[in-house]
Each structure stands twice: as C-alpha cells, then as structure tokens.
C-alpha cells in the first residue's frame, strides 16, 4: 500500500488579540494515529478545522506527499473530518447517509456490523447521540480519503462503544493517517502511535507519557 504524508507547518491563529496557535508542526503518515492532546482552549479543534479548510489561517503551510495544498480551499477528497457536532443532516435516513458516503464495493463490509444493522432502518433524527456518533465515525473512517481528522470522537459514547470505536480506528489505520483529539485522554493514549501536546500555541512531540505530567497536561495521579 502506498504511503501518504500529511504535513502541517507554520500555522498561526489569533482570536482578537489572543494567540491560539503560534508555532505548529504536525506530520502524519499512513498507518499512523496521531493523538493530539491539550487543555481546553489550547487550539486542538481550531488546528483540525484549519487543516480541513473550514477556518482560515494567515500563514498555514499544508502539504500532502510534499505537494503544497495552500491554494486549495477544498481538501475534502484527501482529508475527511469528524466535527464535534453532528454533521449528518437530520432529514436523511441511516441507509441513505451510508449510500451517499460509502463506495459500493465497501458497502457489504460496512454493513457487516451488528450495531449498524440495528440502526439501518432508522432516520438520523431518531438516533441517540451515541448511535449517531458511532455512525459518523464509521462513515468518516470508511471514506476514500487519505487522512482522517477526528475531533472528540468519544463524545457521548459508552465505554463499550468507545472500545468498538478504538478497534474500528485501529482497523482502518493501516490504510489511512489518523489525527485524533479528545479529552478522554486514556483512549487517545491507548490507540495513538504518536502523542502530540499543544501547549501555549506550540506542538510538542511526546516521547514518554511522563512528559504529559512534566508539561502540565496531566497530574501524576493520572498514572496511578
């Protein structure tokens, strides 16, 4: 399988006069799961939105396979994005949302899931928040894009569903590069192949979990 590389460099973002991101470098390769951690308001979600192109940033430099994508507003054919909020329109049925999103060749495999089978005949607005989140994550992961950005995927998921999602993310990571951010740090740490901490607008590559304590993201009791 061909390896792809997503590189994000020099991203700066201010809201009013408050600097959110000032020196960001992020690299994600196919089969890598980058766990993006940071305190509330540190700019994790903003960074994902800038990468996907729904928020502008003055000096961003985004490259895929060493080709600059700065002039391209729409990277949706190469990157898919799971937002924090619901993104599947309410008026669709589950089946329709799946048919619009998944390649015909992959449909059979997509449907081989007891959970998907149980919600297949429902409408989107009749799903619980956990059911909807699971469906959204699965749709985004099964997209033909090279990279997936997951913003708070564990929101509203029960522990057993979170485990299913972890398996799904791992299962899809061999053909995609995945960037995941969530305050459920245990799950993020568990599935990530590389942790990155955003602190004071800068990205810090984490080699050892203890660094998360040193850099003030976790307290030492978090590892007890």
């Amino acid at each position: 399988m061909k390896k792809h590389i997503l590189e994000v460099d020099g991203v700066q973002k201010k809201y009013d006069e408050r600097v959110i991101l000032s020196d960001v470098y992020l690299k994600c390769e196919t089969s890598q799961i980058i766990g993006l951690l940071g305190r509330n308001g540190s700019g994790k979600s903003t960074l994902l939105k800038i990468i996907f192109g729904i928020i502008s940033a003055p000096n961003k430099c985004i490259r895929i396979d060493s080709v600059s994508k700065n002039k391209q507003n729409n990277l949706s054919s190469e990157i898919s994005y799971l937002s924090q909020e619901q993104f599947i329109p309410n008026h669709l049925s589950v089946k329709k949302a799946i048919l619009l999103s998944i390649d015909k060749q992959k449909l059979k495999f997509f449907y081989e899931d007891d959970f998907i089978q149980s919600i297949l005949n429902k409408r989107i607005n009749h799903l619980s928040s956990g059911e909807l989140r699971y469906l959204e994550i699965k749709i985004v992961l099964f997209n033909p894009s090279k990279f997936v950005l997951l913003d708070e995927p564990y929101n509203g998921l029960s522990p057993i569903m979170a485990d299913l999602v972890n398996e799904m993310i791992k299962g899809n990571s061999h053909k995609k590069g995945i960037v995941i951010t969530d305050h459920n740090y245990q799950n993020v740490i568990r599935i990530s192949t590389q942790l990155v901490l955003i602190k004071e607008g800068k990205t810090h590559y984490i080699r050892d979990k203890a660094e998360l304590v040193d850099k003030g993201y976790l307290t030492s009791s978090a590892f007890l």
């Binding site: 996907f52 949706s76 994005y81 937002s83 619901q86 329109p89 619009l100 999103s101």
Partner: protein
C-alpha cells in the same frame, strides 16, 4: 426548497402568481441559503466529507431551482393555453 417555496407562497399571496418566478430565483433562494448558514451549517461537512464543496452545492442548488422554475413555468404556460 421548503423554505424557498414557503417564501414564494407568501409572495404569491400578497403579490399574485407572477411574483412566484421572481421570488423563487432570488429572495426565496437567498432565504433558504441564509437558513442553512444560520441553523444547518454543519450539514455542509457531510457533503465536504463526500468530496462535494460548499460552492458546488450552492451552484447545484441554484441550477436545480432554476430548472424547476422553468418546468413550473412551462406547465403553467401549457395549462393556461390548453384549458
């Protein structure tokens, strides 16, 4: 389309049927886009994730409205002249 047609219905009610064609292609269409921008902005992400940009969606929506208007105009013309 539902919002556009609702705006058109109000225009027809107060101004007559001729206003339908102007409203559906202008104010009614803008109102439906404004509603999406205000209340359903995340819906665009669903289409973005499927490789369809916001611009493409807007162009397709206007083209669809335009051809629907022509169809309604043609049917109205036929009904007026036949019956």
């Amino acid at each position: 389309m539902v919002i556009n047609l609702t705006v058109c219905a109000v225009a027809v009610l107060f101004g007559g049927f001729d206003y339908f064609f102007i409203t559906i292609l202008s104010f009614g269409f803008l109102m439906s886009i404004a509603f999406k921008e205000l209340y359903r902005q995340n819906d665009y992400l669903f289409y973005s994730n499927n490789g369809i940009s916001k611009i493409h969606l807007l162009v397709f929506a206007y083209a669809f409205t335009f051809f629907t208007t022509i169809l309604i105009g043609f049917i109205t013309f036929v009904i007026k002249n036949v019956f």
